[in-house]
């Protein structure tokens, strides 16, 4: 008798990860409410104007770096990227004041972490788990049917040690190959009350919560 097939989102929920997270600029909230979350390539194809957190350099790098296990090359910006927990190195870099050598929330007041229901993974046309940052030499890809083999213990440890990216798994990404509809969005999370008021002023219908600890507000 074959074992019952378990979906990626069921695996994630069983392992204690009911949500996945995506970082975006507040300017894109209205567009996300209308179109859902889109990959960079999809945004360009649809001619939607967005405020990107990515520079031209990084966009160029992300457009050509991913080699799939079958040897085919797919531009990384074909995928929408998520993480299993909110702290991201991008956020850390945004928050880090190089001159002071410490973290500050000053650069994060227009950033939003979108909390997305893992059931969105059920709708993914393509789904990969990158075990390290896709620019890393250590990165390998786990297919959707191999999510049971993801090192969940290491991911839980990384989540519980917020802001510690020493284990490369803490910098891993979930790559989703299509649109995530607005109905899967669970909440907007921001760094302070001022940012929360701004999200409300934009007319967002999503619940807004303030979690400074997710934004390197130690």
């Amino acid at each position: 008798m074959s074992a019952q097939k378990v979906s990626p989102s069921q695996v994630a929920q069983r392992e204690g990860f009911p949500f996945i997270y995506h970082l975006l600029h507040m300017a894109n909230l209205r567009s996300v409410a209308e179109h859902g979350l889109l990959s960079r390539r999809e945004v360009d194809a649809r001619g939607i104007g967005i405020s990107s957190l990515q520079s031209e350099e990084v966009r160029t790098a992300r457009a050509a770096l991913l080699t799939l296990p079958d040897g085919s090359a797919v531009p990384l910006d074909h995928y929408l990227t998520f993480r299993w927990f909110p702290s991201t190195p991008v956020l850390a870099n945004k928050a880090y004041d190089w001159r002071e050598g410490k973290y500050s929330q000053a650069n994060q007041e227009f950033l939003v972490l979108l909390e997305v229901d893992t059931s969105a993974l059920e709708m993914a046309r393509e789904l990969w788990f990158a075990t390290a940052p896709p620019f890393s030499r250590e990165c390998s890809l786990v297919a959707a049917d191999g999510f049971g083999q993801i090192p969940w213990d290491r991911l839980r440890t990384a989540r519980d040690h917020h802001g510690d990216f020493s284990d490369v798994i803490s910098r891993s990404e979930i790559l989703v190959g299509n649109v995530v509809a607005p109905s899967y969005l669970h909440a907007c999370v921001v760094c302070d009350e001022v940012a929360a008021d701004r999200v409300r002023a934009l007319g967002s219908e999503l619940p807004v919560s303030v979690r400074p600890e997710w934004f390197f507000g130690f």
Binding site: V90, S136, F165
Partner: protein, 212 residues
Amino acid sequence: MDEALIWGLENERRVFGPELWDSHAQADCSVAFECLIRAAEEARRFSDNPEKQKAVLIRKARNLFRDHLRQVYGVTKNKEGKRVYRVRVAYDSSELDDAETAGHKALVTHDEFAQAAMDPAAVHAALREDFSDDEVRLFELIVTGMSSQAIGAELHLAAATVRKRWERLRPAIARRIAEVTGLEEYYVSRLLGARRRAAQPGCVGEDRRTKK
């Protein structure tokens, strides 16, 4: 929902004015958005009248965005002698004359570096261990996105000297960051402003650690 803000977002070109929108604001739309949000907050405090709010929104948003352009990019004179805001151009050592003509632009923009998947505190600590205080100081100023001219003013150096020192230092810094983060060295080099022409023996930009 803030109606003045929503009106502003739907009429961005009108708010910033066609000239400013086409030349700068459209390309720098996240900063333009941030100016719009701050302007809307000011307008809300100023009046409950929607028309007055729109007027304040327009005036404040333009002023904030112009302040940003002045601080980050600076002002220059065009061929007709008119003062205009500079446009950000990535510094490219192979086109030094163009870079100098256009103004002393940021060698690395903060946003480029901020996208890299790495732990900044760990990178910073590793650089402090391996490089001199002056070298780390130069790196700290460079990743804040300041222009070479502004960095030079802070370090009491000429802008050209800042650029030359950074060109010498950059390969070794990129290598160390790649070691700490496990990222591809080529990728880090790009983030830190890779040279776009092949390095010539003995010229500026040669890796100081491989120099005999």
